[in-house]
Symmetry: C2
Subunit: 338 residues, 2 copies
DNA sequence: GTGAAAGCGCTAACAC
DNA sequence: GTGTTAGCGCTTTCAC
């Protein structure tokens, strides 16, 4: 900038004014400066500007794995909403590791972002003290009760209850739940599992441990394996509630591999409403947690904290509305086109 | 840092030495400083460090849309390789807009990143002069010939040729190509289309314009529509080469909706080898462009430029090796499990 | 309408 | 082993 100023015969301050489109710069001066900038191939140094300004107009988004369709789609929505609010978004991957999720918070406070949206899967209530930071943070995903930060929660239990009830309404009586590893803590797997049990209880259906499959990883391969295991060991099963759509699509695959039909023999319902489920064969019935609502709300809360005082005001805890989207995977028994 | 220094009764320099784990700091001093840091809740200001250092140990990755599975999976791989090389990755979305792709370059030069991996879809040979920057950039995707930056290209034409030849080998004679809008420029759609035509020519099959569908957007919905249109207008078609797996999955859906079977009536082959294709029903035959090779190479080239001189050395132009992964969608006529 | 001075928080280079 | 000096590139403040 010094160089440009010298080349244009003005002060650095004037160059700064031109760069930032500030008024009160004479047209002739502006032109001179722009020419000099062009000639020297000048670019503002954002790092310096950030240092000076103390903010970056950038928000960080930390997700467990950005190649999981749910997070990829959510990230895209968050980018859209944040951009509308005048913020850039920077996406980072935590690998679903507790250490890295905490790291994301620590790093964010290092003045690179004005705030952080953290999609937790590995943090639990025990970590609530570590979230006691005076930096704008919004937690996405499960609720960590009493944590001093804003939360946007998914309707995990209610949604899973509705999904299970839907299967029961379709006539299923031996409904399996394919879920995550940890059913004790407060996490997506356990909360959705709770909804599943609620619905069974409400319908006075017995709970059968053998129908609960705990997957170490929530991916299609694991879902397919779960279906294979169920097909081998539980011949009478007629429905599956999968903890996520990604897992559900794997389950459908596994059911098919076992020589059974979806929904003819086994009905399958997922959770998340990812795009792939809409176009799968059969298309996937799913709980739609209103991801756009979630993205909008997360950005809204974070930007509010950034603009106001980070620590001021009690933490908000909101849950998105949900709907059940009925598609072929729980349909009237018509399987994939004969 | 000043505050910490004062609280610990040392100079800022010593604090800096402690923060950066530098040797030659007496243990007692180190402890004193760490205590002061803890007491004051001190965090390094990375913005300041970056300004001072002139580099950020961060590379930017600009993709058209991060919710397209291909890019999401590629981003995850790039993150992994970059981390192994000691760099953080920041992902941004360009929306597949020419302006935003150019913006990504412009922004990157603003000292936020040490280098940029740009996945282009909207830039063409005409933009080559705009890429003439003395900043480490690696272009991913189609080749922009003569551009003065490193390229990691996909085996677009060769892969599509192999995919088409595979269908021909399976007995298909009226093979449709479902591709992108622009078949004139140098882009994924046109290059893969060229491979399709090559294979038809080599097999002495006629080229039929009516079998070429140009989609405005490369998503499953468009793929499904394309299949519907083909089913309506071209009853004799027996194969589809889809420009991407995402489109191919939509095509499979559309074929099924039209009351036809995959692969019984129509065989479908995609391109990209995304995870969803492996678990789809039927599973998707696809061209595997070795995405891990691409990610590793892109990171490798970029880091090389960053560590060496950005402009030094002729631009490298590499093409990943590919393979054809044969799955059910082009199988022996056995459709989805009966 | 333009400029001079000062400082954001950090660290390389050198002095002690 | 620790401190001093200086400056990365920008912008806020206030003077002209």
């Amino acid at each position: 900038m010094q160089d440009v100023a010298r080349a244009a015969g003005v002060s650095p301050m004037t160059v700064s004014n031109v760069v930032n489109n500030r008024p009160h710069v004479r047209e002739a001066t502006r032109v001179k400066v722009l020419e000099a900038m062009d000639r020297l191939g000048y670019r503002v140094n954002i790092a310096a500007r950030n240092l000076r300004a103390g903010r970056t107009q950038t928000i960080g988004l930390a997700v467990p794995e950005m190649d999981r369709p749910y997070f990829a789609e959510l990230a895209a929505r968050i980018v859209r909403h944040a951009r509308a609010a005048g913020y850039r978004v920077v996406v980072e991957q935590t690998g679903a590791l507790r250490e890295e999720e905490l790291d994301a918070i620590a790093w964010s406070r290092n003045s690179l972002y004005d705030g952080l949206i953290l999609s937790t899967v590995a943090l639990g209530p025990d970590d609530r003290d570590l979230l006691r930071v005076d930096f704008p943070v919004v937690i996405l995903g499960e609720r960590i009760f009493d944590a001093p930060v804003d939360h946007v929660a998914m309707p995990n239990t209610d949604g899973a209850r509705a999904a299970t009830a839907h299967l029961i309404g379709r006539g299923c009586r031996r409904i399996a739940m394919v879920t995550g590893p940890d059913l004790e803590g407060t996490n997506v797997a356990s909360l959705r599992y709770a909804g599943y049990r609620d619905a069974l209880r409400a319908a006075e259906l017995p709970h059968d441990e053998r129908l609960v499959v705990r997957l170490p990883r929530l991916d299609p391969a694991s879902g397919a394996e779960a279906a294979a295991r169920l097909a081998r060991a539980e011949p009478g099963w007629d429905g599956v509630v999968a903890v996520t759509d990604t897992v559900a699509l794997g389950v459908v695959r596994g059911v098919t591999d076992a020589g059974l039909r979806v929904p003819g023999d086994v009905r399958v319902v997922g959770f998340d409403n990812i795009e792939a489920g809409r176009f799968a064969v059969p298309s996937l019935t799913t709980v739609d947690p209103d991801n756009d609502w979630i993205a909008a709300r997360a950005v809204g809360l974070l930007v509010g904290r950034i603009r106001g005082d980070a620590t001021q005001g009690r933490p908000r805890d909101v849950v998105s509305p949900f709907g059940l989207i009925e598609r072929e995977s729980t349909g009237r028994g018509r399987g994939p086109a004969v």
